[in-house]
Amino acid sequence: MADRLYTLIVVLVSIAAFLMVAYPLYFIIIASVSNSTMVSQGKVILWPKDINFYGYEQIFKDTRIWQGYFNTIVYTVLGTILNLLVTLPAAYALAHRKFKARRVIMPLFVFTMYFGGGMIPTYLLIRDLHLLNTPWVMIINGAISVFNLIITRTFFESSIPEELYEAATLDGCSHFRYFISVVIPLSKAVISVITLYYMVGHWNDFFNALLYINTDSLQPLQIILRNILLSNQAFAGGAGSGAGAGAGSYAQQFADQIKYAVIIVSTVPVLMIYPFIQKYFEKGVMIGAVKG
């Protein structure tokens, strides 16, 4: 009896959790191609109605979004490459039991997870380094996340047997070579996980741009999104909607439809990488976090 009740509750909770997450996501998709008046009247519930791609058309005409897209892609690609170039070798070195200095280095790194200079000293440091209003601040700032370093280091420690290194050194293998030709190929799981973490971080980065970038042409997608989605800034292209108020604005009735489309266009790239890496998640996250 008690067991049946348990099963029933498990089933109900999982269905509820599924619907609560899946439905809003599904709704954004159908709302982005539906007649916005019908959406706001609550008539679009299961299927899109009066299908049109007005929202998407407006986005394609809007140069700001493309500029933001371009900037974000540049920041994400270069930033993630830098992340990996810094994190992986450091994690390898710090995973070596014979590397005595790690007992000093690691605590100094971990300490920064809990204590920092704060927003203003960091801002002034970035300013003094002349990184304000440069693409570099979006790429270099956050070059290593200590959390990802711990995940990677723990993976190296627990999944790559030390005997392997000893065998390799007997064959005259240096650390560099061993790292590149043995460790990296054996670590696809953890590399995928931290790559995803870093990429999502760069793609969704709003804070750094808000603080350190003023130049319009350097703004990443998230700042552009804020302007369009939250500040209700008009579409620069003028959105030839016919129903628009003045030049440079778009009709309020289409506003939400454009917003849904913008949400999809900006989120889909991240969601597209995710299934490829998903199988490694639990392994990777588990390894890092338990020992964290």
Binding site: A2, D3, Y6, V10, V13, A17, F18, V21, A22, P24, L25, V39, S40, T87, P89, Y92, A93, F99, A101, L108, F109, T112, Y114, F115, G116, G117, G118, M119, I120, P121, Y123, L124, L125, D128, L129, A143, I144, S174, H175, F176, V200, N204, F207, L210, L225, R226, L229, D256, K259, I263, S266, T267, Y274, F281, E282, V285, M286, A289, V290, G292
Partner: protein
């Protein structure tokens, strides 16, 4: 003579092994060096710059050049009318977030762990992880669209079901700021945060389940006596880590959700630092407020850590 030779050869032997060691170590040093340089400049640099909180910022002299003024800026913050509101708002948001947000991933993990069919399990997990990849900007935009008092889907639903008074404005009313903040955070991160508990549950020895069943435990008792104890260390570690971040209420989301209507409850310490520090160039004052925040955070971390150590012998450090 013989002795000297022996010493000599020993010496070269030692010297060689020392050199060899250094040879190996030197490669490791090169590999860890970029990380050290980065952390030194971008993490310890600002820590060194904290002294700004005790100095008068001088544009021409930079981060560490102004005159010492002691606790002037801290006093200015403690005496300012914004001190209590910012402190209270930060605490309220942080505590309510932990109180309601922390147990949810554990419950979800227990539920996911109880699903027998692998396919259903995977579908549920994939779905509940997904919101984690949505950016804060997009999440807040979604909230605004869905909770709009005129056209919002969720707003409309809640009002139709009479779960919400007809005149509520979920994105404007100060009273709804904290619930909206916390519930949306749970929606976004619950699935993701459950991963670690699911992973911990998957490593529970199946013999323990068998033993529990033989002892006549029902499913509830199994949860209570087998599963919860198995993930307790993970729960405690994560709780300590969350306690350590108690006052670092997410700047981004608060900042983006903030509007003129809800400012009385949404101005937290970090948004205040941004507004007075960066926007109005009060660098020393902003640093002092930020440092106050960090120190309290750190104290919470140590407190939570020592409590956990005393009560269960589990600790972070």
């Amino acid at each position: 003579m013989k002795q000297a030779q022996l010493n000599g050869s020993q010496h070269t032997l030692q010297g060689k092994s020392w050199l060899q060691k250094l040879g190996g170590q030197y490669q490791l040093w090169i590999m860890v060096l970029p990380a050290i340089i980065y952390i030194a400049i971008f993490c310890y640099g600002p820590m060194y710059g904290i002294q700004l909180a005790f100095r008068d910022f001088d544009f021409s002299k930079g981060l560490t050049g102004g005159d010492w003024v002691g606790f002037k800026y801290f006093e200015q913050y403690f005496n300012s009318p914004m001190f209590w509101p910012t402190l209270r708002n930060t605490f309220v948001i942080a505590f309510v977030s932990i109180l309601f947000g922390f147990p949810m991933p554990i419950l979800l993990a227990l539920v996911v762990n109880s699903i027998r069919s692998n396919k259903r399990k995977r579908v549920l997990q994939t779905t509940v992880y997904m919101p984690y990849f949505i950016s804060t900007v997009v999440l807040v935009a979604l909230l605004q669209i869905m909770l709009s008092p005129t056209t919002g889907l969720i707003d409309g639903l809640l009002k139709t079901l009479h779960l919400l008074p007809a005149d509520t404005n979920l994105i404007g009313d100060p009273g709804s700021f904290v619930p909206v903040y916390v519930i949306s955070a749970i929606w976004q991160t619950c699935g993701w945060n459950s991963i670690i508990f699911i992973a911990a549950l998957s490593s529970v020895d199946s013999q323990l389940y068998d033993a529990a069943r033989i002892d006549g435990a029902n499913r509830w008792q199994t949860v209570w006596h087998v599963e919860i104890p198995a993930i307790l260390p993970t729960i405690i570690i994560l709780l300590i880590m969350n306690m350590g971040n108690i006052l670092s209420v997410g700047f981004e989301k608060t900042f983006l959700m903030q509007n003129s209507l809800n400012k009385s409850v949404s101005e937290v310490i970090s948004t205040y630092v941004f507004n007075v520090g960066v926007k109005s160039n009060q660098f020393s004052f902003g640093s002092a407020v930020g440092l106050f925040n960090t120190v309290i955070n750190f104290m919470f971390l140590i407190l939570a850590n020592s409590l956990a150590k005393k009560s269960s012998n589990i600790s972070l450090m």
